[in-house]
Amino acid sequence: MSDFAIDILLILVKLGLIFAVLLTGAAYLVLAERRVLGRIQRRYGPNRVGPFGMMQPLADAVKLLTKEDFIPAQADKPIFFVAPGLAAVTALLAFAVVPFSPPITLFGREVPMVVCDLNIGVLYFLGLSSLAVYGIALGGWASNSKYALLGGIRGLAQLISYELAMGLSLVPVVLMAGSFSLTDIVLAQNPVPFALLNPVAFLVFLISTAAESKRIPFDIPEAENELVAGFHTEYSGMRFGLFFVGEYINMMILGSMITVFFLGGWIGPVLPPIVWFFAKVMAVAFVFIWMRGTLPRLRYDQLMHFGWKFLIPVSLINVIVTGALLLWLKG
């Protein structure tokens, strides 16, 4: 068997694994969110299906699959069909560059624990996370519903606003790591994660990712009390499910990104690196859920105000300060 074939096989195996882990992860993240929110509100959350409600995601899937797939009369059908997939796929694709463990040696070969260690991983990630909004915008547009359209437009505006802050908050990370490769960034955080070295960038990134994934308090595109359900108002059944899955996969990806960029990736004592990686991702996911259970939704103008007039200036200043500091340290 040639190396190339083995490489392909390994990539396929990794892809399969990642798919499986991401999808089940997303499904259980839904359950985890409902349970945690329940506890925050002093309820139990879903606990009827299986022990501790562990089979709930399965039941949800069955329900979503068996529900009627409703298509509005005047909808732009092709786009309407594609949009939820787009939302899920772009989210999945971003995971290609995430290293979740140091390379391991398997059958005498060194196998990198990343699907594809691009040397411009950061740019790839930024690009894909921006693409994710296509699903929302197109879904909102294709539904031929004013709520959905408004939701899509808001999603676009919100993404543009926060993408900038997110990108700018990554500049110090790249500066500090001296590389665009995510593996290099992780390695650069041994022993001190960037979250401690540059907390401002960390916070800006954390907030921006929350806004990117349209999580509360930034869920303006689907604000229930104004827009019914925003961009997915007209979606039902598994198509709605895809949007949902996309959103939670996105949450996992962003969690991974935070882990990679700021929390030192797999690096940690005692436990195997992959466990550390997942623990950190889960911790970030928990923070997101916690945030949802705590904060109320921002108003649209507040959201824009906060993004443009606060986050971007702060991250710009942070770039300058970090750059200056690095120059001073090295110089």
Binding site: R39, I40, Y44, W290, G293, L295, K309, F310, P313
Partner: protein, 192 residues
């Protein structure tokens, strides 16, 4: 950016404490929610765990009887008039003693919203709400209760009350025989 700073100035310039308050207001809730996460949920796990409702809980409706065992309901239609979902219907009638009663009385429990307005409207304390809430069915027709299903052999919440002992029309007692009445007037009396 200068404008942005102006905004912060306008907002916090006068009172620097406001910034602190805002920050605290953003962070403190995280503590509150976290603390609640470790408290015992208030949920009752219904089919396994049952709660005892208070006596005045509003669930299944009954028709009660007066202390003498007679039907309290006089079929005055006030409950059906008060009912916001029109689930009560009846036909009043008169028995040989001149007592007004319901020839038939029907509550459609598949429509009832247990609001209690009927019990509130009832002038004779006949219609009362009970705390019996485990009450459902799959066949809507089986949820239509007739008078025979609704009548209980008890006075419910006020066992002593008998409307006809106060109504002054001579049903429970002879005319003028209630304790708050004079005997019937005699028009032909010689007394002025």
């Amino acid at each position: 950016m200068a404008e942005g700073i102006d905004v912060y100035k306008r907002r916090y310039g006068q009172n620097p404490k406001s910034l602190w308050r805002d920050l605290k207001g953003t962070v403190e809730p995280f503590y509150v929610t976290l603390r609640n996460m470790f408290k015992k949920p208030v949920t009752y796990q219904y089919p396994e765990e049952k709660r005892t409702p208070y006596p005045r809980y509003r669930a299944r409706i009954v028709l009660t009887r007066d202390p003498e065992g007679g039907e309290r309901c006089v079929a005055c239609y006030l409950c059906s008039a008060a009912c916001p979902v029109d689930c009560i219907s009846m036909q009043s009638s008169e028995d040989e003693n001149g007592r007004r009663y319901a020839a038939w009385f029907r509550i459609n429990f598949s429509r009832c919203i247990y609001c209690g307005l009927c019990a509130e409207a009832c002038p004779t304390l006949a219609i009362q709400m009970t705390p019996f809430y485990e009450f459902s069915g799959r066949d809507p027709l089986k949820m239509v209760y007739e008078k025979e299903d609704l009548l209980i052999a008890d006075g419910g919440k006020d066992n002593e009350y008998n409307f006809y002992k106060h109504a002054g029309i001579g049903v429970a007692n002879p005319r003028g025989g209630n304790e708050d009445e004079y005997g019937p007037v005699d028009v032909r009396s010689n007394l002025p």
